[in-house]
């Protein structure tokens, strides 16, 4: 699902400090990073990966179909549109603090060209033993310690919690088919519902662990979807930030984590997910239930 070991990967913003470290770790994990783009820096190389000025030139030379965008927030919309214009099919946006309007514009454009967008504000995704995109898991030794190939998918609004959940499942012998940090912003390219649709038809996945937070409507939307269409998957969810329900208007953690006018409360999210047949864990350790 989403990525195979054969997919060729482009990195936009490759000469940046974080992107450069990510390239080294991705290559070490076996991901096929074939080219990078930083306008004005064609001819350089980053850990042996050639740098181009434009996505057009990188695509002509190496035919990547997946891109990881790690450019300053102000340049994200432009970078994504550039990737869409040259036939990229999966676009993962790591950059944080992207203006909401820019995200909405690039999501609208991605729908027109059929490109799947993950993020912004994501650490990435990984199919353990196959490939990884982004800095998820950090150093390659930590990635190997945290993630184990298996049949449970992880969808998480927090990058750090993606690895934490994987590491916890791994320590109890439960492997993962894919783990995706969906991004911490109120508007993202692929939300829980979009990804669950893909997981439904993914023969390598039997169960899903979802990590949700206060704010936004991702959990409510997923619950509506599951009420209308029963899933073949075992779905466990853990929701953090219960204390935020009592602190209306104060922002914690991610950009989306805020309860406004009673909307987006953890209590409300937990109730509607339960009504939709999702197993909602009261405490973190309970996410294991039914998976062993």
């Amino acid at each position: 699902m989403l990525i195979s070991s054969e997919d060729k990967i482009l990195v936009q913003g490759i000469t940046g400090r974080e992107a450069s470290e990510m390239v080294a770790e991705s290559l070490a994990y076996g991901s096929k990073v074939v080219a990078g783009v930083t306008p004005g820096k064609a001819g350089q190389s980053v850990h042996g990966v050639p740098v181009f000025d434009t996505v057009r030139a990188a695509v002509a030379a190496h035919q990547p179909t997946v891109t990881v965008i790690s450019v300053p927030a102000a340049g994200v919309l432009d970078a994504a549109l550039e990737a869409f214009a040259h036939g990229i099919k999966l676009c993962l946006i790591m950059s944080e603090r992207v203006p909401r309007r820019d995200t909405a514009c690039l999501v609208a454009a991605s729908r027109e060209c059929g490109c799947t967008v993950i993020g912004p504000n994501t650490l990435g995704l990984i199919r353990p033993g196959v490939a990884k995109l982004g800095t998820i898991g950090g150093r390659v030794d930590n990635v190997k310690k945290s993630f184990l190939p298996g049949r449970t998918a992880i969808l998480s609004r927090s990058g750090g919690m993606t690895t934490e959940i994987a590491s916890f499942l791994t320590s109890r012998g439960i492997g993962q088919s894919i783990a995706i940090g969906v991004g911490g912003d109120p508007i993202i390219g692929s939300n829980f519902t979009d990804l669950l649709r893909l997981l439904e038809s993914d023969s390598s996945t039997d169960a899903v662990v979802i990590y949700g937070e206060p704010g936004g409507t991702a959990e409510e939307e997923l619950a509506d979807y599951l009420c209308a269409r029963k899933s073949r998957l075992r779905i466990n969810a853990f929701l953090s930030g219960r204390f935020v329900d009592d602190m209306e208007g104060v922002r914690f953690g991610h950009a989306a984590v805020m309860v406004e006018g009673g909307r987006g409360s953890v209590k409300g999210k937990a109730e509607c997910l339960r009504a939709a047949g999702v197993h909602v864990a009261d405490k973190f350790d309970d996410i294991l239930e039914g998976l062993l």
């Binding site: 992207v98 909401r100 995200t103 909405a104 609208a108 930590n142 945290s146 927090s158 208007g249 104060v250």
Partner: protein, 399 residues
């Protein structure tokens, strides 16, 4: 960021939105002068960044200069729902026939902006929400006038009002996109005796992440309130934000004070919420929420640690993070130890739990061992680590 009413109005004036000119007063004398300039019945409003001002007693009707002085004296300097009032505005009392509501917000499900019109405006807008009509639109193109008229028509308007409101909705959609707004509301939007539209109050929230490109739009509007939800930050919260701002690497300044005795340095964004919930569930009394992540520098961690420990009544510190990806556990460990020492305390006495598995974990474990602290590994879950922190702090405080 949520703007004050007078800032909203000045900003929207640039988009052709009709509004009453607010006159600002920071002293009772200025309020008196403003009243005399208006020369008639006026409305005096405290400039605070939240709604429901009428119920909060922040809006007063004044018909004499003496009343203007009295109400201004009462409101200026007063704390309303935790927010210190520094200015009031005065504007002529408007006579009107009808009250409507018009606004633009984000429809998070559609991932598009949505224009909203309700012919039942004013304080009734929420109880009459069923009368609201909505139209989502492409974030790349504002609504045109005919699309605005279609919405007005759906909302039950006709004649000249339909035409005026249609154009107003188109202008609002353009303002919403150009200003990188997250919320833009006109309530009430009134129709005057002469059949003209007038905006009596406005509510605008702008995207913090777009602040870098809003500088010229916001120039000349004065200070924008910084506190979320209108709550004025505490001295400790402000100091934490200053520590964070000194260096762009890492998030470290999102501190919210609580009245307990257990200091928390927790992260990243998701795990901090998870741990805070767990501490409360196990009966702990947090002294603060403090999120940390994004690979902060050692100095930042040290300064923040010291700040948390110096809060009166704090006895212990728990440092708990998820399995870290980018953040280096050893940098965190060095910063925490240094911060504890510069607060004049001993790591082995004050640090109840240190749990940061992941990148550079071995180095962190070794460093803490040298300082008499046994770090916890990934086999101890976030929940179990929180339980240990609470157990430690409660057993120590009872003796």
């Amino acid at each position: 960021m949520r703007l004050l009413e007078h800032q909203c109005k000045r900003l929207l004036a640039g988009f052709g939105i009709p509004f009453t000119e607010p006159r600002l007063a920071a002293t009772p004398a200025e309020a008196e002068a403003a009243f005399q300039a208006i020369n008639g019945p006026a409305v005096l409003k405290a400039q605070v960044p939240f709604g429901g001002r009428g119920k909060a007693g922040a809006i007063r009707m004044v018909s004499t200069a003496a009343e203007a002085v009295a109400h201004a004296s009462d409101l200026i300097g007063k704390s309303i729902r935790g927010y210190q009032v520094s200015e009031v505005s005065l504007e002529p009392k408007a006579l009107f026939e009808r009250e409507y509501y018009a606004g633009v917000a984000w429809d998070l499900r559609q991932r598009q902006p949505v224009a909203i019109f309700n012919r039942a405006g004013g304080i009734e807008v929420e109880s009459e929400a069923s009368q609201a009509v909505k139209r989502t639109f492409d974030p790349r193109t504002p609504l045109t006038a005919y699309q605005g008229r279609e919405l007005a028509e759906q909302g039950g308007l006709e004649g000249r009002e339909l035409v005026l409101v249609g154009s107003l909705i188109a202008s609002l959609s353009r303002a919403f996109l150009e200003l990188d707004a997250t919320t833009l509301e006109i309530n009430p939007l009134v129709v005057t005796g002469e059949g003209k539209l007038l905006c009596l109050d406005a509510h605008v929230e702008l995207d913090d992440d777009a602040a870098y490109r809003l500088k010229s739009a916001l120039a000349g509007l004065g200070d924008i309130p910084t506190a979320a939800g209108g709550r004025t930050p505490t001295a400790m919260e402000e100091e934490a934000a200053r520590i964070d701002a000194r260096d762009h690497r890492g998030v470290a300044g999102r501190v919210v004070e609580f009245p307990g005795d257990l200091a928390l340095l927790i992260g990243g964004g998701g795990a901090s919420l998870t741990v805070f919930d767990a501490v409360l569930r196990h009966g702990g009394k947090p002294a603060n929420y403090c999120e940390i992540g994004g690979n902060p520098t050692e100095e930042k961690v040290a300064d923040l640690t010291k700040l948390l420990l110096l809060k009166p009544g704090v006895r212990h510190l728990a440092v708990i993070m998820n399995v870290v990806n980018n953040t280096r556990a050893d940098v965190m460990a060095r910063g925490v130890v240094q911060g504890i020492r510069s607060a004049g305390q001993e790591p082995s006495e004050v640090l109840s739990v240190f749990r940061i598995p992941g990148s550079w974990e071995e180095e962190a474990v070794a460093l803490l061992k040298e300082n008499g602290v046994t770090a916890l590994g990934r086999e101890v879950s976030l929940d179990a680590a929180a339980a240990l922190a609470v157990k430690h702090s409660n057993s120590q405080s009872s003796c």
